[in-house]
Symmetry: C2
Subunit: 308 residues, 2 copies
């Protein structure tokens, strides 16, 4: 799957992942109205609105980007109905040949991580049959429990040719509370990064491992250090746009080969029509606004990489 | 909810939580056969087997214990159908007046944690209505992202009178890889424990906060230190029984008032019929074996507390 991700990045010339993190407040009124007319103001109605919104955005951008990243929390908040919309979104994106990164941030002790890995990346045995539960291509995972919690995911990735992005340095303001604390003079996130590099050593595609890392665009200097610590790990970079990261901040996350990072934008793309810059599209043409935002983001990153 | 938990512990004289972590391999053949006869060897069939298994165990133990802790990974592995069984289990346990701790180990940046909190502990707004998605009483959460990731959960707990157990020192063998690393001479888990105590200060029930911690039974000495660091935090203690923790190891997790901890056992209770000690019940009477295992565990902890 890492090879598919890389070849799609090369083809689209856009190391971009569209974060499909639908809040109801982002979804244009015409979509909400239609969904509520059919299902009422219910969890089912909300899930239908989310799904229709996602579908229009995916239809508008799928040829421009290699990957999408649905954030499962935004679906889970609507309970079972929301999770059905998550699954529909995953399946639809895969039918459009997009790489799907499930932003699930799971992580637990051994047998429990194995169950999460089976549910999100692998298959579960039922009698003499096997079934895939959610079947994303990559998943994000939390490293706090150490190797026991990560290895069952790696095992499934190896079998199923899938991949991980392990949280190293997150994009949020308080991420330093624990992640930046110094251990023998070095911040915790660097130790986690070193461990990610080690976990990834036996999990190589060609130039890159399928065990990657999450490092926030909001911390470019740390990104620079982590790029050196994990030279063969792909970095998923959240925090571009709405969270404050800019194209110029991103260059340090890439290797000299122009690869090694994929930058996420969620709100900045899926709710682009709400920005002054794209207001001309109007809520009616929100998906075209998303397409324009993707084109602008790709140009911003390309120009930053050319001028570094 | 912390007061309900405490009063139920006092009433049952059993600071025990039954971990409802059903693996198919634990479920007696008669239950699997019946479920597969009705739904086939499908995800639906597996979910039905899980639900029937849980129901029998809950019916056999609900009067002996204050709380249950379904581990959502064990349901999530079966996709949507599994999550329906999770929801059914939560609802059924609440109808039996059990406190339900959702072992979900979620945690993300601000708005995303808010969505998880809404989905698991609170309510989500859909038009002019609000709905509860999964509606557990407590949830476990991961602290790696710092305060931004925790505060949205705390906010929902305050509104809904629910609670959290935040991962501090987990029970698994590799938990020390990051959690034990020394920062200014003190292990990371102690700093996380201090932060849990601080987060809990403004969230008091009577003697205890509704912001608790997870500390593994497998690390009794660390439990002793953490008990002092977080005197008013309830500690959820996994790792008893199958993972190796014993009653005598547990005394340090309790305060002098005999409260402050609740000990989880999963496999040791729900698959008790597979142990030699309870083999006499046979697979047919697996739920009675679970009841006997709960009684033995309660006696073990009571005797350890009396002899300390």
């Amino acid at each position: 799957m890492i090879q598919k991700l890389i070849s799609k990045i090369q083809k689209t010339q856009a190391p971009i992942v569209v974060g499909l993190d639908p809040m109801l407040s982002y979804i244009p009124e015409q979509i909400q109205k239609k969904a509520f007319a059919e299902y009422g103001e219910t969890l089912e109605g909300a899930a239908e609105a989310v799904w229709q919104y996602n579908k229009e955005i995916v239809d508008a951008v799928y040829d421009l980007v290699p990957a999408v990243k649905p954030q499962i929390a935004m679906y889970e908040q609507f309970g079972i109905e929301g999770l059905k919309a998550f699954k529909k979104t995953v399946d639809y994106c895969k039918s459009k040949d997009l790489v799907v990164i499930g932003d699930v941030k799971r992580g637990d002790i051994g047998s429990t991580s194995a169950a999460y890995a089976a549910g999100h990346l692998g298959r579960v045995q039922v009698g003499s049959h096997t079934y895939a539960g959610f079947d994303e291509d990559f998943a994000t995972v939390n490293p706090y429990l150490g190797s026991d919690g990560i290895k069952p995911f790696i095992e499934v990735c190896r079998q199923e040719k899938k991949g991980l992005f392990i949280l190293v340095k997150t994009s949020n303001p308080s991420s330093g509370e624990f992640q930046d604390r110094l251990i023998d003079g070095r911040p915790l996130y660097e130790l986690v990064g070193e461990q990610v590099a080690r976990w990834g050593e036996d999990c190589m595609g060609e130039a890159y491992s399928y065990i990657g890392a999450v490092v926030g665009a909001t911390y470019p200097e740390m990104g620079k250090a982590l790029r050196r610590i994990m030279p063969r790990s792909f970095i998923l970079v959240p925090g571009y746009g709405a969270q404050g990261g800019k194209g110029a901040d991103l260059v340090h996350f890439f290797n000299e080969d122009g690869l090694g990072a994929i930058v996420n934008s969620s709100r900045g793309i899926i709710a682009a029509y709400k920005q002054e810059k794209y207001a001309k599209f109007g809520a009616e043409h929100f998906a075209e606004a998303s397409r324009a935002a993707v084109e602008d983001m790709a140009a911003d990153i390309r120009s930053a990489l050319e001028n570094r």
